[in-house]
């Protein structure tokens, strides 16, 4: 076990692509850290540099305090689980799992003992003599895990290990990975493009975009205090709503109407010298049907009315989708998020507002509804830099 430090690490590919751009991450011993971001953001590049499968162009990588830039993968004592599982097809499950130990010149008896032990943990005992070709995706995945854990390495690296599984199995395996990591207490770097996986698994999350680390923090921290529009839009499902707004005479005018400006936000905006045109970000759960909001709360927010486009009742609560007129919030970060989600050219003039209302809401599809918004919780972003002006987190407001 060991800590892993990426110190101003760069990766320049021969064709000039900057795969990793000044990446700084300090991963504590035993920590479960997630690299997350849209496809092509440099997650695999970063992971492969830690593994030693890609050279580091610049900067330093330290594992357990020693520089390992020049060390071959086999000398780093790190195990990796690949998205494709990468099992050796000509070996049985037993041989696959024992392979790292065989290379480390363990005795036959010791290998057998260790493999049997790992197979028990992973529920693979009855499959030990099968070949990977006739196993299911989930089983292969577990064999890949088994091969990684047998030799108790300093760290585990996993590159989208669950993305080839179907949705239900993915949830099961997610729990398994989480339990396994807690049990082994081995430093783990886990790559995924799925924010749900990131939120549920990690001690800390590293959000990346175009090779640049956007923010590092606990899942809750990233959710509550996103450093910029990109993180705000990427973390959370359904994602945060963004509406363009104008700061005027101490008030806030948006397409939802004039919103109440809480004192603490006003102070931060003044201190940050906010531009006139801004983007307001509000999470779906910070809306409520005005009819069910308790009176003493009504004054801490604003109420607007709009027509319910679609209503999805989930039993415990209701998701109401509103069409909002006027401009859509525009910024590079948001454009990139939309491109990634494939919603860039969904034809809706203004934009859609996703709200989560309580089950008691009387909102009806096609009818106008009064909606209350908790303005204390709104976040204000600079449309040009994308920075979160209301973030109370100075350390991460630098992106």
């Amino acid at each position: 076990m060991a800590d892993i430090v990426l110190d101003h690490v760069y990766k320049r590919y021969p064709d000039g692509t900057l795969g990793a751009d000044d990446v700084n991450i300090e991963i504590a011993d035993g920590e479960f850290i997630i690299l997350v971001g849209p496809s092509g953001c440099g997650k695999s590049t970063t992971l492969n540099m830690i593994a030693g499968l890609e050279d580091i162009s610049d900067g330093e990588l330290r594992i357990g305090g020693t520089r390992v830039n020049e060390k071959a993968p086999k000398d780093r004592d790190i195990a990796m689980v690949f998205q494709s599982y990468a099992l050796y097809p000509h070996m049985t499950v037993r041989e696959n799992m024992g392979f790292p130990l065989k290379l480390a010149k363990w005795s036959k008896a010791d290998i057998d003992k260790k493999v049997t032990e790992a197979a028990e943990i992973l529920d693979l005992t009855q499959h030990l003599d099968r070949k990977p070709a006739n196993m299911s995706g989930g089983q292969r995945q577990r064999v890949a895990m088994g091969r990684a854990i047998v030799r108790s390495p300093k760290a585990f690296l996993m590159d989208e290990p669950l993305s080839n599984l179907d949705a239900k199995l993915r949830v099961q395996m997610r729990t398994m990975v989480s339990k396994l990591q807690q049990r082994l207490e081995t430093t783990t770097v886990y790559v995924t493009h799925d924010q749900t996986e990131a939120m549920t698994l990690g001690d800390r999350i590293v959000v990346m975009k175009s090779g640049v680390v956007q923010q590092i923090g606990s899942p809750q921290h990233l959710y509550d205090q996103p450093a910029n529009l990109f993180v705000a839009g990427f973390i959370g499902s359904p994602s945060m709503n963004f509406v363009p707004g104008t700061l005027e005479n101490g008030g806030l005018r948006t397409s939802l109407g004039n919103l109440r400006m809480p004192d603490h936000i006003r102070r931060v905006l003044e201190a940050a010298d906010a531009p006139r045109e801004i983007i307001v970000g509000i999470r779906p759960e910070h809306f409520e049907d005005a009819g069910v909001v308790e009176d003493h709360l009504r004054d801490t927010g604003s109420v607007f009315s709009a027509e319910v486009d679609v209503l999805e009742s989930m039993g415990s609560d209701k998701f109401a989708y509103f069409k909002i007129e006027g401009e859509r919030a525009m910024s590079d970060d948001l454009a990139q998020l939309e491109a990634d989600a494939g919603t860039a050219d969904v034809p809706d003039g203004g934009g859609q507002l996703v709200t989560r209302l309580s089950a008691a809401s009387t909102a009806r599809e096609g009818q106008s509804s009064e909606v209350w918004v908790d303005t204390d919780k709104m976040q204000i972003f600079d449309p040009h830099s994308g920075a979160n002006l209301t973030s109370r987190d100075p350390a991460t407001a630098n992106a």
Binding site: A51, G52, L53, A72, P73, K74, I78, A79, M80, F82, S84, Y85, A86, L87, Y88, P89, H90, F99, P100, L103, A104, K131, P132, A133, N134, M135, G137, R140, R147, R151, L157, N164
Partner: protein, 278 residues
């Protein structure tokens, strides 16, 4: 109607298969038949011999030249095959996996060698081998065989290597393997079907060669079986050695059949399935 359509198709294919098999097999069977005929019935035109005899086979083993030639053929073909396959495997791996300057040129040159008319090289090779003392030796044949077998080996093998998922090699590296260990215990076993296919092709090429063998050898020291057969003489000056030639030809095909049968079991299609999610 729907049931008979596939049945018709099946019959059609069977007929075509049968024709192809007969086309390929009848000359072979004819030779086999000739090899069992007695000298006086050999030209009677019967497909099934009327009187059977082993004498043709017995006869060729009395020719010293033939037994030594058989030894030479086996030795030279096996050594050439092993060397060509080993070198070809490594070269093909480099071509399939690595990006190095001059890669295209290398592939081009090896293709050029394969296309080069061998007959035009015979007299220069003859002169060179005479000058350096390789004429009428095993290495004198093994060297040109390797040269001409290598392009073939590299081509077939690099096609196989390209099919092997690269991630397997990365996985091996992460599991603690040196590049050589990864190559030996992961890549080569997976490329085995390719290696065996190549081995068969190269072996057949060396085994069947007549041109180099007849030009670069002169005595029983290194003459191969194909050459020996061409030098059979009949019982008298006027008798054609048809029976002996047929028997020798049948004998010569046996090692190839054994070789193919032996390796065929290892040529299992889809060996790589299950490595990565397909």
């Amino acid at each position: 109607m729907t049931a008979t359509a596939p049945a018709n198709k099946k019959v059609g294919w069977s007929v075509i298969n049968l024709i192809v098999i007969l086309y390929a097999l009848i000359p072979v069977l004819w030779i086999v038949s000739l090899s069992f005929k007695t000298a006086d019935t050999i030209s009677d035109g019967n497909f099934i011999p009327r009187s059977w005899t082993w004498s043709n086979y017995a006869q060729i083993f009395q020719i010293d030249l033939f037994t030594s030639a058989l030894r030479n053929s086996i030795g030279i073909a096996i050594i050439s095959t092993v060397i060509a396959v080993v070198i070809g495997t490594m070269a093909a791996y480099a071509i399939a996996r690595l990006d190095f300057p001059g890669k295209k040129a290398l592939v081009g040159v090896s293709l050029l060698i394969a296309m080069f008319p061998q007959i035009s090289l015979v007299s220069p090779l003859f002169d060179i081998e005479r000058a350096v003392g390789l004429f009428d030796t095993w290495p004198g044949l093994i060297l040109p065989y390797i040269t001409f077998a290598l392009p073939l080996a590299i081509y077939t093998l690099s096609a196989f290597f390209r099919e092997i998922p690269w991630e397997l090699e990365k996985a091996a590296k992460m599991d603690g393997a040196t590049p050589l260990q990864a190559f030996r215990s992961v890549i080569v076993p997976l490329a085995a079907p390719g290696v065996f296919t190549t081995a068969i092709l190269v072996f057949i090429f060396c085994w069947n060669d007549f041109l180099f063998a007849v030009s670069l050898t002169s005595t029983s020291r290194s003459q191969t079986a194909t050459v020996a057969i061409s030098q059979f003489t009949g019982a008298s000056q006027f008798a054609e050695p048809t029976g002996s030639i047929a028997a020798a030809a049948v004998l010569l095909t046996i090692p190839i059949i054994i070789f193919v049968l032996f390796f065929q079991r290892r040529i299992v299609a889809g060996l790589t399935s299950g490595a990565v999610k397909g």
